[in-house]
């Protein structure tokens, strides 16, 4: 590839980069995206083989440290109670995500005003509403209108069926008088565009061989490429470079052959997720930015937020057919979403239904928990739990704390010798109390649904999917990294469009809001092309 300058250079082809590229394509600008991973071949996804569950522990593991694909970079998360989960490919982590697709709520953007904690966002629910709707149309979102937990919204597809397992758990919620609703799911429940309908394969979290799940390699990228965007794969960016006047002028990267290259650009856009983006900024040191690019206030990498997960599995007497149907998409509950200080914490959590496990996962879970021992009692123990488990995940809202952060590891390097990220994170007392409360209520719900016993893991370690806050947006340059439309306060032609810009985390899976924000930022750029750098 020649080093001809491009108008817009996007780094990262995941959820945000894809949506942004598609939206900006209509400007006819010269747009290039560099992605460190490659295109995936759905025919090679694990569900096409009998070893599908085992591959979820190896080449399709959630952790890049376990997976160790050529596209992966290591993450030192050894001292964090929550480990990083991601995927590096065209489509990014949407390749492995569950597809759970709820929006944030009006109160999520006003936590300082309402609850006196963290900060308000510089935009609100109403601002994002049209971008969520456009994103739903592009991704194809299944759900059901009429949820009293939300302002009115219209899903594009019918909901994912609950199955025997989901209906059983729903009855438990009804018994307690608690809210539940069919999940908003980025899953085609009917043929949608070029996508085939869901056939209930089970583990969406190891890639959808059917192509029903909305990963952005199937949704946005084909449309963006048809519209003229160029996407170069297996290109790992090492650093963003700057001109003497402090504006970004391009990147240095390693191409698919490992050759160091330079790419110049008028606008640089970061879409590498809440760990990859601060890593790249911190690796981009220069005389103008000795502590890393866009980091004059020292906030790059700080305020890392996860969603601490509390997992409760209930064991039932009857088979539940839980291996059939999307793993993480069934029903959600927002009964405990909003602040009630009588609970002992501020903000709240949502529940997401977790369908049961397949035989291998059941056996390995039973091995770890002592319920499926080796020896004479093995078959009794296995028979006691196989196809009899249903779970609830409490997705807790983490609050931003500056000491929770992404830094560069002093020793760890990726395959190109680029310093790797290290996670410094502690669970706050508020999050701990919220987890405990969420776990206790989940046990009540599962018991009401008929579970004879429950099993708890909280926080769930391998659940660091939602990476937020490490380049937060705001109007005050002293307290935020980017402004209200993703533009760096320090570098006027540098934008961040991934989960890094989140001011607070909400208590729902963030992908639909990440993409809504990416579309919103692209729209703001389109409307301000004439005075973009002022």
């Amino acid at each position: 590839m020649a080093d001809d300058p491009v108008d817009v250079l996007i780094i990262g082809a995941g959820a945000a980069g894809a949506a942004f590229a598609w939206s900006l394509a209509e400007t006819r600008m010269n747009i290039l995206c560099l992605e460190q991973g490659d295109w995936m071949n759905p025919a090679e996804y694990p569900t096409a083989g009998l070893d599908c569950e085992a591959r979820g522990q190896s080449d399709f593991a959630f952790s890049p440290n376990t997976r160790q694909r050529p596209a992966d970079y290591p993450v030192n998360d050894a001292e964090s109670p929550i480990a990083i989960s991601n995927f590096n490919a065209v489509g990014g982590s949407t390749i492995l995500y569950a597809g759970h697709f709820p929006r944030m709520k009006p109160s999520d953007f006003r936590v300082r005003s309402l609850d006196g904690v963290a900060d308000d966002w510089p935009l609100d629910y109403a601002t994002l509403e049209p971008y969520w709707a456009e994103n739903d149309r592009m991704m194809g979102v299944a759900g059901l209108a009429g949820d009293p937990a939300y302002p009115p919204k219209e899903p594009t597809l019918p909901p994912v069926p609950l199955g025997k397992l989901g209906e059983t758990v729903a009855r438990g919620f009804n018994e307690l008088g608690w809210h539940w609703w069919p999940s908003d799911s980025a899953i085609a429940t009917r043929p949608y565009g070029d996508r085939a309908p869901c056939i209930n394969l089970g583990p969406c979290v190891s890639g959808c061989a059917q192509g029903a799940k909305a990963s952005t390699d199937l949704t946005y990228w084909p449309a963006a490429i048809r519209a003229g965007v160029r996407l170069e794969t297996r290109c790992r960016v090492r650093e963003i470079t700057v001109r003497p006047d402090g504006l970004a002028d391009g990147v240095v990267y390693y191409d698919a052959d490992g050759v160091e290259r330079r790419q110049r650009a008028e606008i640089v856009v970061l879409a590498c997720n809440g760990v990859g983006t601060p890593r790249l900024l911190l690796n981009s040191r220069s005389p103008q930015f000795p502590d890393g690019l866009a980091n004059r206030n020292g906030l790059v990498g700080r305020n890392l937020m996860f969603h601490p997960y509390g997992m409760v599995m209930g064991i039932f007497d009857e088979p539940l057919d839980g291996y059939q149907g999307p793993t993480g998409c069934g029903l959600m509950s927002h009964e405990f979403y909003e602040t009630d200080r009588a609970r002992g914490f501020v903000r709240g959590f949502s529940y997401e239904l977790l369908r049961g496990f397949g035989p291998v996962t059941t056996a390995l879970w039973g091995l770890a928990s002592g319920r499926v021992p080796w020896g004479p009692d093995h078959h009794r123990g296995f028979g006691d739990v196989i196809d009899r488990m249903a779970g609830l995940i409490a997705i807790c809202e983490d609050l931003p704390e500056e000491h929770n952060r992404v830094v560069l590891d002093p020793e760890l390097r990726d395959g190109h010798g680029i310093p790797a990220p290290k996670i410094e994170y502690q669970l706050s007392d508020n999050s701990r109390r919220m987890l405990d409360y969420g776990v206790a209520r989940a046990q009540e719900a599962l018991t009401a649904a008929g579970a004879r016993s429950t099993f708890v893991e909280a926080p769930l370690r391998l659940a660091g999917w939602h990476l937020m806050g490490t380049a937060r947006m705001g109007t005050d340059p002293a307290r935020s990294v980017v402004d209200e439309w993703g533009r760096s306060h320090d570098v006027r032609n540098l934008f961040v469009i991934d989960g890094s810009v989140f001011v607070t985390a909400g208590a729902v899976n963030p992908t639909c809001t990440i993409q809504g924000l990416a579309l919103y930022i692209a729209d703001r750029i389109k409307k301000n092309l004439g005075n973009l750098f002022e």
Binding site: P148, H179, W180, P182, I199, A209, Q210, Q324, L367, W374
Partner: protein, 166 residues
């Protein structure tokens, strides 16, 4: 027998991952970890022929490969110590004594081998059929999930909107 003796041998893909003596020892061990299931007429994991698959899985991970190698060495020694013969030739009671001694001496070894054994056993079509699961990959046929009666939502639909307005 030494640790080097029971190391993974580098062989072409079609050849066994470990030699015949270790295959026999490993198969006997697998039969103890996952024993026969009489009511389903299923033999144990060893008699099902999973020793080679377990050894191959172990070979993909240096840590697990060394655990397997060391476990087989120790088990062979314990069988001689407690029964004066090889582990496969011990009676069931003596096998259990040897395994209990192994578990006491190297507590992490049997859970590590169970991890490999369970993963191989519960993806075998014969086992899947016996436990009532379709003996095939999920894709391409998938599964039929009946449509949901969302009449279940009636109590929730009756609630007034309860999101917090701002």
């Amino acid at each position: 027998m030494t640790g080097d003796d029971v190391g993974m041998t580098e062989t072409p893909a079609a050849a066994p991952a470990i030699d015949a003596a270790r295959q026999r020892l490993l198969a006997a061990l697998l039969d103890e970890l996952v024993p026969p299931r009489a009511e389903a007429a299923l033999p144990g994991a060893g008699a099902l022929g999973l020793a080679d698959a377990v050894a191959r899985s172990a070979a993909e991970n240096p840590g697990l490969a060394s655990v397997l190698a060391e476990t087989l060495v120790q088990l062979a020694a314990l069988a001689q110590q407690h029964g004066g013969t090889s582990f496969p030739d011990l009676d069931p009671r003596a096998r259990r004594v040897a395994l209990d001694a192994l578990a006491a001496r190297a507590p992490g070894s049997l859970p590590a081998l169970c991890f490999l054994t369970y993963a191989a056993y519960y993806r075998d079509p014969r086992v899947l059929e016996a436990i009532g699961h379709p003996p095939r990959p999920p894709y391409p046929l998938g599964y039929e999930v009946p449509p949901t009666d969302f009449g279940l939502l009636e109590p929730v639909r009756r609630r007034a909107p309860f999101y917090r307005s701002v």
